[in-house]
Symmetry: C2
Subunit: 147 residues, 2 copies
């Protein structure tokens, strides 16, 4: 399952003339297998056992390469650092206000909203971003403390 994603991603990269380095392979693999929408620093620390000499700049550089190739989405919230999400099929995120957990949920794309926005504003629309906020079940039952 996730091996298919990885293989496809590598093909996509190769087709756009991007070299497959061990670091890129590892970052992609980590992103795909990760359920946690990691920050650049989390990726860096997760891989430092395998790549003791890897630079943080490499992580940032490659996340940008992946983003430009459409493989990865950057998620920015009010807090300090961006999170990165491997793009698979259309899904949205729901985020816990207390513990920050991000969970995927599936929902059909909001084309009608895009159409209305385009009609009202005269923009040519090409994408949108939607996130839902709330309290996750664990925080709701008091298992975690509030932030």
């Amino acid at each position: 399952m996730s091996e298919v994603y990885l293989k496809d991603a590598l093909v996509t990269l190769k087709e756009s003339g991007v070299r497959i380095t061990p670091q890129r392979h590892a970052i992609l693999e980590f992103l795909i297998s990760s359920e946690t929408h990691p920050t650049a620093d989390e990726i860096y620390r997760a891989l430092e056992a395998d790549f003791p000499n890897m630079s943080v700049a490499t992580v940032y550089n490659n996340l940008r390469v992946f983003r430009n190739a459409g493989l990865v989405k950057e998620l920015t919230y009010g807090d300090s650092s961006s999170r990165f999400d491997f793009v698979t099929h259309d899904h949205y995120h729901i985020i816990c206000n207390h513990c920050g957990k991000i969970v995927d949920f599936h929902h059909p794309g909001l084309e009608e909203v895009e159409h209305l926005a385009s009609h009202v504003t005269g923009f040519e629309v090409n994408s949108h971003r939607l996130e839902v906020y709330g309290t996750c079940p664990e925080c709701a039952t008091g298992a975690n403390k509030a932030k």
Copy 2:
């Protein structure tokens, strides 16, 4: 019209025990009258004629005060600095990928999406965020250069 917003905002602040200083008054007034969803630095520079001694920290501090009071929303995108939006009635934003312009558009709230998300994930939902991206008419006709 906008005076009503300002007056209401001042009442809200006073009720939550926040002192109305000249700086706070000016920042709020600027936010309400502004059509541009300014950054903290833009607010700072816009007011430095009237408040030559005001510190950037004051702008940040008060934006946080306003945010905590529910008067202001912080908008974070991939780029460097947050933008701040005075909260009026429900509206969403459409953002130009080329020149960064942010335009409001009205659309009924996406309660059904919130319900679905809540049902699927078990979260208690309390809000969401939606933005549409595209190219504004000016950029589409080539009046501006691409980023």
